[in-house]
Structures are given as structure tokens and as C-alpha cells.
Amino acid sequence: MTEPRMIEISPVTRVEGHGKVTIHLNAENEVDEARLHIVEFRGFERFIRGRLMWEVPVIVQRLCGICPVSHHLAAAKAMDMIAGVDQLTPTGEKMRRLMHYGQVMQSHVLHFFHLAAPDLLFGFGAPAEKRNIFEVLKEQPELGKRAVLMRKYGQEIIEATAGKKVHGTGAIPGGINRNLPLERRDHFLSNVDEMIEWCQDAVKLARDYTLENEDLVSEFGSFPSNYMSIVRESDGALDLYHGTLRALSSTGDTIFDQVPYTRYHELIVEDVRSWSYMKFPFIKELGPDVGWYRVGPLARMNTASFIDTPLADAAHKELKAVTSGTPNNSTLANHWARMIEVLHCVEKIRELLHDPDLQGTDLIAKGDRREEGIGVIEAPRGNLIHHYKVDEHDQVTYCNLIVSTTHNNEGMNRAVKDVAVKHLSGKEQITEGLLNHVEVAVRAYDPCLSCATHALGQMPLQVELFDADGGLVDCRSQCI
């Protein structure tokens, strides 16, 4: 019999930003409670007030070092609405889509190859010194080189469409400020077939892992939930850039469908809990207990009727077949879903590169000014909502952001609890490998915890064990 104790993992490693996991054990070493605390930055919504609407798509990129383009485009879509533009010019929309596909591709590749691969290749409980990208590279150096080149391809597309790698200015209210020169198009075309081949290999890698480890995947952080994303308005196809809101239950029943995203606030409520800075959204009509939902790659595979690119669609059908067409509830299946999306993005990139509209010169549409704008896209980690109001001086007076990680807050907490109960309960000794199981569950969501300062002198990972009186019993730390 031991005293009740608490274990803290802070910050969680190999996720974007900072988080802290606390696991409360009772006297029998059973898990009483497990929570993911996110030190989310809410200051940005205040920071943006008073800024001119034209600046917003550029400024919001400072929210995140990994997915600035997602914020850039979501804000630009909101500003389109304020500029009175409901339909971009073909060149405007296609250039933005190209930018977005490049962004989703490079973000997913980073996560899968550099952050998730060590866990998948060596096992969740492998020694920490084994569980890193260098060990992956020792075993599969070509995989590492491919990952770098795939990332580079995506980054170059962002640079070509947004103007620069950091703080691009491509998307502006009502359109885009550049087209794609032919020489850049030809450069991207010269590599695109090879990229598609590599993406197919990556899909196979993720699929094989999922199917070969079916027992683990089906139980690890696996639980029923609702799912939400935008889908293409006309036919429910996967659409990462634009569409209407669709939510399905864990059994695939429709909760809502074909709802314009400008009505998101009629559908979603953000709940507050005392122990977390981050809100807990839920579907209003279902209430907080059963109305929570998940977003992201797997959610999109669950909500999309099909994918409009042939190779990704075939992979999508294969993933759906695992659960006989009903939603897949396995947290780890996110990795397979993520790679299907990478393949889809590169197929879309190839399709767009052959489209002469990318060299069009009609870049900006105009309309009658409005005071309020809402922009929604599917970012790499899931649905992303930007909502602004501006005054007669074009200054922002209101800003509300619901980022993907906020949508997934309840889902991530349930995954942490599920894994902690299954893998830590009853263990006399909680090893680093066991604790990593919890981190694996969090990492599968690829959460962005609002990039914090990363300057030299970064905090180490700290795992602290407290007794019931709050005294420090044990402490582990490692540099990240």
C-alpha cells in the first residue's frame, strides 16, 4: 500500500508548444484522474484588436511557427467576407489552394517522419535514447532524406504562393497578390510525380503499421466520439480549403450537415473548466456531456463522403473498410489518415500545376463592405475558425479564434485518461517508457499548443512525482 501520488509530465515532448500531463494515482496505484493541461495563449485575440483589417492575414501568422499559413488563410477568408467578396477569382482561389496544400503536406510530413516515427518504429516503451529520429535514420536513412525533400517541396510551394517563407503576404482580402510564374510551375512539375510516389510509400508505411498492429491500434486511446469538419458543399467530398460544416456521431449518424460555416456559433459552444486555460467546445444541441467531438485527419476521413483525387480516394476506401464504413475511433489511425491527406495534397498540387488559371492576372475580387467576417479552413490538425468584427475605420474590434487543438481538447483528455488507465494502473514503478505511452496518445493528435518562446535556455521535460501532501517524491528531466 502506498500513499496517493501525482505524476506530472511537463512539457509534453515532440508536440508543438507546451503542455503538461498530470496523472493522479490513488493508494492502490490505480489511475484516479489524468488530464492534459494546455498553456494556451489567449492573448492573441486581444493583441489583434485595433489592427487594420489588411494587416490581419499577415499578423496572425505569428500565432504558430509550424502552421502560419493555416492562420494566414483562415484570416484572409474572414477578411474576404468583410471586403464583401463571396467568390474569389479562379486565380485567387487556386493560388490559395496551392498554398494550403503545400502547407498541409509539409506539416503532416514533419509530424509523421520526425515526431511519430520513433514511437511507431521502435515501440512506445523503447528506451528514450532509442526513441528519436537519429535512430530512425540509422535504420532507414533514405526515409529521412525523403522526408526532408518532401518538407522542402511543400515549403517551396508556400514561398512561391505567399511570397516568402516567413510572414508571407500572398492572401489579401478579396484575393491574392501574385500568380505562379511558368518557371516556378515547371520547377514544381519536374518533381511532382516523384513526390506522389513517395507519398504512396508513406501511406503504405502508415497503413501497414495500423493493420499489423491492429490489436494495439484498436485499443490504444480508442473511444467513440463525434467528428466534425468542413466538406465540399456540393457532394461531401474532402475539401481542406472550403466547404460547409458536417458533424457525424461515432456510429456515422448525421448530427448536422451542409451548414454554412458562418453559422458555427449557432452549433458550437465553448465550455470552460477551472483546471485548463483552454476551452472545451461541444455541439450545442447535444450538450457538454455527449456533444464533444474530434477534428483532424481521422475526423476528416470519417466525415468525407469520398476524396476527389484517385490515389487518395482508394486509400480512403481502404481505411474506411477497416471499420466497415462506420467512423474509425482509433486515435492511432490518425497517422494513416494523415498520410492519405499528404497524398491527396500532392495529387491536388499536380492537378493545379496543370491549370492555366495559376498564371491568370485577375487576382482580386471586390464587393460591398461588411462589418463582420468568418473564415474557416481545415488546417493540418483540424478545423480552424477565425472570426472578426471591424469598425468604420477598418480596425478590428473583435476577434475569436477556435484552433484545431481547442476542438480536440476533450478528445485528447479522454485519450490521456484511456491510456493512463490501461497502461499505468496498478504499476508499482512508473517508468519513462510507460509515461511515453501517454505522450504517444497526445502526439497522435499533433497538437499545437500555441508556440511559446523557444529561445536558448528552453525548459527541459520534467516529470514530477508528488505525494498526497504535495511533497516532491521523484523528479525526472531531460533536455528537449
Binding site: 509550424i66 535514447e129 525533400l149
Partner: protein, 156 residues
């Protein structure tokens, strides 16, 4: 030679790295390629693999001196997190993936205000940025005069 300045200009003094690289970019020095980014990521390994010398410029939290400058070697940390890829890790990736071993230095410019979402550098950080720039220009010119023989570490 390549200079990579990195950090988030939307986080106060965390923008010291980009501010430094952008200043140097404005000088259009022929011998110096400039890269500015939010953070170090895996593809920086490819970027630096084609250079003999790389300088990483980043903010340093509450440094004892206005700036520090030291040579570093490749080193793989136990855990690799994309959010906080270290210069040593980029060097290790460069060596592992491409067999290249550029000589590498870290210029850490001391900052004092990091917590808040805001643009612009603090007064102290701006002063440190000036000092770091003056030092770096001297170092570059000394390097040119001495055929690349440079001090391993400088704390100013």
C-alpha cells in the same frame, strides 16, 4: 557562409534572431547567405549541408552579457522535438543525412521580454542587437583577414 536567424517576432524579444538576420540581409554582404525562420526544422540540415560555415542567431533568455558567441559541435539530444530543434541537432542531422560537417557557431543575443504576444524588441534587447551586430561585422572582417581563423568563443 550562411547565417540563420530564427525566432518569433510576435513574441517580443524572441524576435531577436530574425531581427539580426534581417539587419545583415540589409547589408547585402556578398560572402554571406541569409535565412530567416520561425524555428529550426529538419530541412535546415539540407540548407547548411552546402556551406562551410554556419552561424545560428537566436535570442538568449536573460543572458549575462549582451550576447554570446561560441563554436558548437553536432550533438543529438535524447529527445527530438520539432518545436525546439537545437542548432546542435541540425548539425547532427546534416552529418547523418548528408555527411557534411560545416563549422558552426551560435550567436545568442540576450533578450528580456518573452512572455507577451507583442511586436517589437525591448530597449535592452535593441541595445544588445546593436552590440551583436557590431561584433559580428568585426568577426566577419577579421575572419576574412585571417583566412577563417576565428575565436572559438566570445562573451561580450
Amino acid at each position: 557562409m550562411i547565417l540563420i536567424g530564427y525566432g518569433n517576432p510576435g513574441r517580443g524579444d524572441d524576435g531577436l534572431g530574425p531581427a539580426f538576420s534581417q539587419r545583415l540581409a540589409g547589408r547585402a554582404l556578398s560572402e554571406l547567405e541569409i535565412d530567416t525562420d520561425y524555428q529550426l526544422v529538419a530541412e535546415h540540415a539540407l540548407t547548411i549541408s552546402g556551406h562551410e560555415v554556419v552561424v545560428f542567431a537566436d535570442a538568449e533568455i536573460e543572458g549575462e552579457n549582451p550576447f554570446s558567441f561560441q563554436e558548437i559541435a553536432a550533438g543529438a539530444p535524447e529527445v527530438l522535438g520539432s518545436h525546439s530543434l537545437k542548432p546542435q541537432t541540425v548539425l547532427a542531422l546534416c552529418e547523418t543525412l548528408y555527411g557534411a560537417k560545416p563549422r558552426a557557431y551560435v550567436l545568442g543575443i540576450s533578450g528580456h521580454e518573452f512572455g507577451e504576444v507583442k511586436e517589437g524588441l525591448s530597449e535592452k534587447a535593441l541595445k544588445n542587437l546593436d552590440d551583436a551586430e557590431a561584433f559580428f561585422l568585426d568577426w566577419l572582417s577579421e575572419r576574412t583577414c585571417t583566412n577563417g581563423v576565428v575565436p572559438d568563443r566570445v562573451d561580450s
